[in-house]
Amino acid sequence: MILHRPGLPKNELWIVKNFRSGSSIQSPFFIPAFPAIAAPLSHSKDPLRSDRKPPVRQFVSIFLSLTVCLGFGFENSPKPGKVSPPENHWAFKMPVADERSIDELVDAKLAEANLTAVPTASREVLIRRTFHVITGLLPTPEEKAKWLTDTRPDWLAHLADDLLDRPTFGERWGRHWLDVARYADTRGAALPDNEDFPHAFTYRDWVIRSLNESLPYDQFLHRQIAADLMKLPREELAALGFLTVGRAYQGGQNHLVIADRIDVATRSTMGLTVACARCHDHKTDPIPTADYYALFGVFNSSLVPKKLPVIAEPSQEPGAVAYRAELEKKAMAVHNHVKECDPGYQTPDDILDFNLPGGTKINQTQRGKFRQLVGAVTRLQATSPFAIPRAMVLREKPQPFNPRIHERGNPGAQGEPVPRAFLSILREKDEHFTQGSGRLEFAHRLTDDRNPLTPRVWANRVWMHLTGSPLVSSPGDFGPQTEQPLQLKLLDHLALFLKNNGWSTKELIKHIITSETFQRSSRSTAELQEKDPANFYYARANRQRKDLEAWRDSALQVSGRLVHKMGGKPFKLDQAPYEGRRTVYAKTRRGFLPSIMRAFDFPGSEEALMKRTTTTTPTQALYLMNSPFLHGEARAIARRNPSIRTIYQTVLQRDPTDSEAEAAKAWLARARSSRTSGAWDYGYLQKGSLEFKPLPRFENGQWRGEQELPDQTLGWLSWTSQGGHPETDKHAALKWTAIESGKINLSGNFIAASDKGNGLIARIMRPNGEILGEWTLQPTEGVPTSLENIEVKAGDELWFIADSRDNAAFASFHWAPKISDNKGVISDAQSDFAGPGLPPLAQLAQALLLSNEFFYID
């Protein structure tokens, strides 16, 4: 897109480009004008050496790399037809077979670079790592023990087989694919009335099932692009969600919807950014606009039908019957509304058909209500577990669309006609699609023997998910802008392995896992740190941080709350009570991710995402420290585990060291168990009584009765960080407990907040009834409640009482006392204000859940 930057001579650009790609220089524009610059850098495709360059040269190199990134030149980029496409680009050549194994290929590069690989990781680490990369979960203690003592030399291959056979494999790897498929449960954009894709989950479930059932990768792609054109059982139609779960556009701009489908079908599979060519010839890749419109013809020859096909029998359970009645009621409400607006309107035979016939008289306000009512139907379909699952299919139009180029991407400016065909760089000149839209031909063309890209792109992704870094650093861009990877031979080895083993993803995974390279320790050495800090050479394993799914699922696992229910309607991730299902089943609202998803790098699903970024931010820390979800898991762990030792065993799957156990013990003794977390407690005294009664419920920063204010029995009684509200027959009471003996001073301001009512009495007293200070206030009055030199012993209580003077109307007050001694403030009711405390063992469990040990996979 950043194209028109005149200034630099184009030959300079081409030098840079070619040294980056490492290929021989073929451009007709090439003039060796800057040998002085080019020469010293000619070895810099070797990342090791470029890292070791002296500062000045590194500077030049960064500058040159930037010139490419910044898109200087390209003003006169090669015109298709005039210049032969860069067949010499590595990714457009067929993979070359090499007899050597993964390890031999990696070791050869290590030897070239004179690097020493680190030793193999411990079996304990390998078990944990293998569980993580295949299932996204932790081993149970029993499983761990079993695999630790397995005496077979090829125990790891058996472990891989075991894990690949589990349904949890599909849940982990399905989510990887859903990133690529820009999956979401909603349309996104600004369509809040009708934003749900009620059947998107059928696609998600299809992905998970197909991975679990080892559907070969080529068929995996064919079905996602053309299941409707193949002879398959009806439930396979769900695969087409790949094309149809994309975002909606304002005003339903069809050409953008098609662009989205072309993008996902080419970038996700072949690593080509074809959609760039929508408006002009691709500036960097050999993809002319004609190619884009050839595919536009393919994808614009299909439509999402108004009625999606059912892919499972309706249930006869009572719930399902009730659901259908409710659905009918809501659907009829729509038709009745339209009939009110336009008496001539006829309810269609299919009551779920809400396409208004042309000429229906309905004004904008009425149309707003119409959309709302339709939205209610969709929401019911989206949320009810009894909704009949349907597939988000495409259907061929009766006549395939004959595309013309849209000049500059503008559908109003129709240019030359182009035949429907595959990308010109990968086909013979006259090879066009001949069967209908050509969608099925396109699907087969992705994986036939003439396509060097698809197996490489998938092999690269599989490698990335297993080792933590891809061989080609841009998994969605294998175009000429992307330089030849250091490990091209390894990539080709993996791509050919995939094809030669029936496109079996599971076989490929097992093949990689059983290599020495995968099994290396993640501990770096001084040598590696200096020569290859980014680990391009795989002399060690990458330490990986758990992504959102992996940490949340494993937290549920150790708390014992993980629910192994597969498939079905999505659940809300941020809604209490928090569901124990795996994160892959959480609802993804395109553009409206809940804070937990936003904080932990979950994809926004606007476009296909080829590689997640991993950020480390205080927002994540805030979530982990303060979210009720984590507290719930911590409490659950503490409930099931009575000691420091068992909590360590559960969360970190090991015993605490002696010093850890001691430190935990010392800390937890201070974090003594109390109803609230701090020195303060929030309650009331019945008038005339000296018994402190705690307020039972904490919600939205307020202690109160069981119900929303006013509670049936406790009325308006409440405390917040700022103050509270008494009742007529109950005084609001704030209790403070001394930790140490000594003399203290009390300060604070009591303010009768309202200008109505009959004021309040503030009182500071001991539980035995001794009154230390008392102040009577009229409405709006305020008074400092200061007392000095109060003697307390450890464990003594002081009560801060607000008395409504027998009339609780308008009796809210501000009061946040502070307690200090001669060294400073001991307690501050405002800043110490706290909800129900985490019991000490839950505090420990939370700390372990937050730890790097829990979050990282060695």
């Binding site: 600004a190 650093s473 970024t613 205080p618 920063g701």
Partner: protein, 472 residues
């Protein structure tokens, strides 16, 4: 809390390799000395390509589209034609009719004598700070695409917002607060979170939404307030966690990610206090609160100043949820009400920034996604209340103003035609406005790029020219 400055760069980390491969923000940014480590912080403060005059941006978004001829672009000729057909027909969203002269009086203000309508007496007090652009234009007369164009530089596609680009380019000065805050009272504007999305930029750069209708400062940012532990107990817990993490890291050399994650808990702990503080206007002296006005707009403008003062890079303030300035009917009544709601607060913000010496380094932008027609909107079934006293959308010509951040004060740039319908002189497209804003922040808009899906993207796509006439 001391910190207007970062605590190192440890808290925000993406892999260095990943980051370097993508970023194209130029040598200044890449020459950050702290690159020696393994990781690079996406939000650490960075130097721009050249020394920019502005360090922070405040974008006051009058969503819905305020009318230029009723605010900053007086048109006596239009008044003459009131109730008559004007000799100019331009297609907008809806059918329009005869000229609708402005019901508001204009007056010259300040030494510069800039003409401002009676709607904004308080903003007018800072007339000599304003750089009024009367020749803005956009692409289409519809809200959604125009909002996206103004906020993200593209009216259709999912692109990063201006605030995301700016925090990507400059990081932010205070690591205890978000770098890009967007405030809208009572809900979202039209197009919702797309207006502050980070698009293909890392999620660290997206706007942090704050509903300023909430008055309790502790509820403005998610999970910023611990309620399960007192601060002291939480400190104990984090001390234990630190010990655990340090022990874990000891056996794992050379991994700065571990260190960074350890540090992020400390940052979060401090943020709990600082963020609450920053949003707590009750900590301001009474005369300042009175200057801004004790109301919703006053509160959010005052929060804005407190955020910028603490080093937040980009603050966007929306007038309200939906599209409040979209007055298809009852324009006089509604514009009066809306201006009354925000005039005191915006006026106070300008004066306050100035007297604190912050205005020089803070670029303030005021405006909507487009303007309104000088002609009256005709009733159409279902589209308005059948009154003939409002104005339709107008992307052909509208007004925005900037202040501070090195723009010319007391300056009027460009002009619309005699009726205020379309920009005719020294036209400024939204892309040009973006290019100029980035220029003031020290960036060549053509060089602030990000590599994504095989291309280098920038805020202004292939468009945009810096408007040098706007610059002091």
């Amino acid at each position: 809390m001391s910190g207007h400055h970062s605590f190192g760069h440890g808290g925000f980390v993406t892999s260095r390799r990943d980051f370097l491969q993508r970023c194209g923000m130029g040598l200044g940014a890449l020459a950050v000395p702290s690159l020696g480590g393994q990781s690079i912080s996406p939000l650490a403060p960075r130097r721009p390509q050249t020394a920019g005059k502005a360090k922070a941006v405040i974008h006051l978004f009058m969503n819905g589209g305020p009318s230029q001829v009723d605010t900053f672009d007086p048109k006596p000729e239009l008044t003459k034609y009131h109730n008559k057909k004007i000799p100019l027909e331009l297609k907008t969203e809806r059918p329009t009719g005869v000229a609708l002269g402005s019901p508001f009086k204009f007056q010259k203000h300040g030494e510069s004598g800039i003409e401002i309508s009676e709607l904004f007496p308080n903003i007018a007090k800072s007339a000599d700070e304003l750089c009024v652009i009367r020749s803005m234009h956009a692409d289409v007369p519809n809200h959604e695409p125009s909002l996206l164009l103004m906020n993200c530089g593209d009216s259709r596609l999912s692109r990063p917002s201006v605030g995301s680009w700016v925090t990507y380019g400059l990081g932010t000065e205070n690591q205890n607060l978000p770098g890009f805050v967007t405030m809208c009272p009572g809900g979202y504007p039209v197009s919702r979170t797309q207006n502050w999305q980070s698009g293909f930029l890392p999620a660290a750069y997206q706007g942090t939404y704050v509903d300023t209708k909430t008055t309790d400062p502790r509820k403005l940012i998610d999970h910023v307030t611990p309620t399960h532990l007192s601060r002291k107990r939480q400190r104990d817990q984090l001390d234990f966690l630190r010990q655990l993490n340090e022990e874990h890291a000891k056996e794992r050399n050379y991994d700065s990610d571990l260190e960074a994650r350890l540090e992020s808990f400390e940052l979060a702990y401090r943020m709990q206090l600082e963020a609450t503080d920053a949003f707590d206007v009750s900590l301001e002296p009474k005369y300042i609160r009175e200057l801004y006005g004790d109301n919703l707009q006053g509160r959010q403008m005052l929060i804005t100043r407190r955020l910028v003062e603490r080093g937040v890079r980009f603050v966007q303030v929306w007038h309200g949820a939906g599209q409040p300035w979209d007055n298809h009917d009852d324009l006089e009544k509604n514009h009066r009400r809306l201006a009354r709601e925000c005039d005191q607060a915006i006026g106070a913000l300008l004066i306050d920034l100035k007297q604190r010496g912050m205005l020089d380094e803070t670029l303030v932008l005021w405006g909507g996604e487009f303007g309104r027609t000088p002609v009256v909107e005709m009733p159409k079934e279902g589209t308005n209340a059948g009154k003939i006293n409002g104005r339709d959308h107008n992307h052909y010509g509208f007004t925005t103003w900037m202040a501070g951040g090195g723009v010319k004060g007391g300056h009027v740039h460009g002009a619309t035609d005699d009726f205020g319908f379309q920009a005719v002189k020294d036209k400024v497209h939204v892309h040009d406005l973006h290019a100029t804003m980035l220029h003031q922040l020290g960036f060549d808009h053509e060089k602030l790029t990000y590599r994504y899906s095989g291309r280098d993207f920038r805020l202004t796509d292939v468009h945009g020219d810096v408007v040098h006439d706007l610059l002091a």
